[in-house]
């Protein structure tokens, strides 16, 4: 069903491109996806979604490529820059070096890098305040928990995910200072993002140890966590995209990281000639980070919980609550 829908989107956008192709001087965007590719159902998918949206809404020319290895980033970035592409978007922290190097060689082109900071006059860096959203879902989890024990399953053990963890624990403690958080990581290599079996194994053992809600920023590995939630009749919290629909009734909410919005916004700025360089941060304040409420989970979250969550969100935005940031800790 979903696939059909995606195909539909694909054809429509192809059609739009064919029609639009006749028009001269369209805005050309090159999108370079990480090794995961456009179908990783998470990070790269989100970026691809945002770009495809821009293609149909803004009538841009979009060309996407998927990297074969780390050394291909620079080649691909440079290829785009050498052609008549106006905006080149690199997805993921591994592309930082390539963007940095190529942007310096092509000062007239515009570049966007997601999840990493590159300071250059023609580069916009899109960063997300994952800790804020994590704090929020941590608070919601603590409010909903019966057992007073929560779980956290990270994908690969890297600072980014530590940032999620720290925010999540702080949010939970804010509601219930005595809350206990069990924390595990799927692995230490790239495979950790795509190991649902290990994710499920960890989730089952966390549920067994008393946790009743697990937050799982673990890429595709969190599909295993959702499986375990359904099996054990407990809750899980999704991440990045809205994952509530995957196991309706077992996914309390999803922490949203709107890479698609950010990418779309960057393209829109470019099309309208309003592209600015520098670092853009996306947090709760500008809806770059959020939590998801939809038809799948509105019955799970009581009005009281939602009201409290909104209150905490407002306090974070207003600066009344300081969310600890793993990046600033060290």
């Amino acid at each position: 069903m979903k696939k059909l829908f995606l195909n539909g989107v694909g054809w429509v956008s192809l059609f739009a491109w064919v029609c639009g192709g006749a028009l001269a001087q369209e805005y050309k965007v090159g999108l370079i996806l990480d090794k995961g590719g456009k179908d990783d159902k998470s990070f790269n998918s989100a970026a691809f979604r945002g770009a495809t949206q821009a293609k149909s809404d803004l009538k841009i020319f979009l060309k996407y490529v998927e990297a074969t290895d780390d050394n291909a980033f620079e080649t691909l970035t440079r290829s785009f820059a050498q052609k008549d592409f106006d905006l080149i978007i690199g997805i993921g922290v591994s592309q930082a070096e390539a963007i940095k190097k190529v942007s310096a060689q092509f000062p007239s082109k515009k570049f966007v890098i997601v999840d990493a900071e590159v300071k250059a006059p023609n580069v916009r860096a899109l960063l997300f305040e994952e800790h804020e959203g994590s704090f929020l879902v941590g608070a919601i989890a603590a409010m909903m928990s019966q057992s007073g024990t929560l779980g956290f399953i990270g994908g690969m053990d890297i600072p980014l995910i530590r940032r999620f963890e720290m925010g999540y624990v702080a949010g939970a403690k804010k509601i219930n200072p005595k809350v206990k958080v069990i924390s595990n990581y799927v692995g230490i290599s790239g495979d950790a993002w795509n190991n649902p079996a290990k994710g499920k194994e960890l989730a089952v053992s966390q549920y067994g140890a008393g946790a009743d809600i697990i937050f799982a920023p673990a890429g595709a590995s969190n599909l295993g966590v959702f499986d375990a939630a359904e099996e054990k009749k407990k809750f899980a919290i999704g991440v990045d995209s809205n994952q509530n629909w995957i196991k309706p009734g077992y996914i309390l909410t999803s922490m949203l990281k709107r890479v698609d919005h950010a990418v779309f916004a960057a393209i829109e700025d470019g099309v309208k000639g309003k592209f600015t360089s520098g670092t853009q941060r996306f947090g709760l304040a500008n809806q770059g980070i959020d939590y998801a409420v939809d038809q799948y989970n509105e019955k799970l979250l009581t009005p009281k919980v939602r009201a409290d969550a909104e209150k905490i969100k407002a306090e974070i935005v207003a600066g009344k609550i300081k969310v600890p940031d793993f990046y600033l800790k060290k």
């Binding site: 060309k63 290895d69 780390d70 080649t75 290829s79 591994s94 290599s189």
Partner: protein, 348 residues
């Protein structure tokens, strides 16, 4: 008359295999709606279009020369080294480790030191399955695959817990001291090609001399030709198997020189787009001859480079489709068995 035609055909066999694979691949791209001639033109331009492009081709070919030689050398001793991937991982890790832990080494000897470490680590990683084969009789195919897994785990652990780059999200080590970096070949512009290419070329020559001229190389080949005959001739079969696997591992380990000292300046987890496994195809296509390996590595380097460009330059060819193209070439090389069979029917 027919015999001489046959001889020429046999000589051209690898070329025919490659062409057949390429033709099949182009047919697939045609089915996907691309003009095959256009695809071929892109591939050609991608590989040799500019100094930069050719530099990238050579950059990808360099590690493939090392791994291709590695697999070929093991073939000569009658062994199948599927472990080049693990050996090169360990080699690169060793080069990075030395470069990080001994920053004070003067630039005159630093690259040699790190290169030696890369060779030694790869050699160790090859010698272990070699030893297991020689002394315990357990098959090297299984053991080298296992060693690949251990190499991934070990290198990730060292990277993340001992030598982690604190400034990066990526699973990578800190940079090696500048004295370790080898010279970049500026002729090829921004292509990350370094003098590691010359190390690879030297390895081709060295392995050729070793196999065809040296006494030890003769003994190693004898073991591969006939273990029974080698044993009866007083050659220690086990020792030759260990030597072959150690040398094979060391060659694969030298990928660390091109990757760490010549390109990334650090060890990155997962840096290799499976150079080790592509090395098997390279060795097969090169018929395990050092010069053949060199040619095959260039071809595969060009194909790998072309993969990214096809994705970029065409509407319908994605990364996956160009991998199919690569796969078809490898497949038709492997189907060489058919030729061997035809050949057997012709001679006693």
């Amino acid at each position: 008359m027919r015999d001489s035609v046959w001889k020429i055909l046999r000589f051209l066999r690898p070329l025919i295999a490659v062409s057949a694979g390429l033709a099949a691949g182009l047919l697939v791209t045609a089915l996907a709606g691309e003009n095959p001639l256009h695809v071929l033109a892109i591939l050609g331009r991608s590989a040799f279009g500019s100094r930069y492009d050719f530099g990238m081709t050579l950059f990808y070919a360099t590690p493939l020369i090392f791994t291709g030689l590695s697999v070929a050398l093991a073939f000569h001793a009658g062994l199948f080294n599927i472990g080049a991937e693990g050996q090169l991982t360990l080699g690169a890790l060793a080069a990075a480790t030395v470069g990080i832990c001994f920053p004070g080494v003067p630039a005159v000897i630093a690259p040699f030191l790190a290169g030696l470490a890369a060779f030694a680590a790869g050699a160790l990683w090859g010698a272990i399955p070699g030893w297991l084969r020689a002394r315990r009789g357990s098959h090297e195919v299984i053991n080298t695959i296992m060693m690949n897994f251990i190499a991934v785990g070990l290198s990730s652990w060292v990277t993340l817990y001992l030598l982690k780059n604190p400034d990066s999200q990526n699973p990578e080590t800190q940079a090696v001291a500048p004295s370790y970096l080898i010279k970049h070949l500026d002729f090829f512009g921004d292509a990350p090609l370094s003098i590691a290419l010359f190390v690879a070329l030297a390895a081709v020559v060295a392995i050729w001399i070793f196999l065809s001229k040296s006494t030890r190389g003769f003994e190693l080949r004898s073991v591969g030709q006939s273990e029974g005959a080698a044993r009866a001739a007083g050659i220690s079969v086990g020792r030759m198997q260990i030597l072959a696997m150690a040398l094979a591992g060391g060659l694969a380990g030298l990928v660390g020189v091109s990757e760490v000292l010549g390109n990334a300046t650090r060890f990155k987890v997962g840096f290799s787009p499976e150079y080790g496994f592509m090395g098997i195809a390279v060795a097969l296509l090169g018929r395990s001859r050092p010069l053949g390996v060199l040619g095959a590595a260039l071809l595969f380097g060009a194909l790998h480079k072309g993969t990214a460009d096809l994705d970029m330059e065409t509407e319908n060819i994605t990364r996956d489709l160009s991998l199919i193209l690569q796969g078809l070439v490898i497949l038709s090389v492997a189907a060489d068995g058919l030729w061997a069979w035809l050949d057997r029917r012709r001679s006693p």
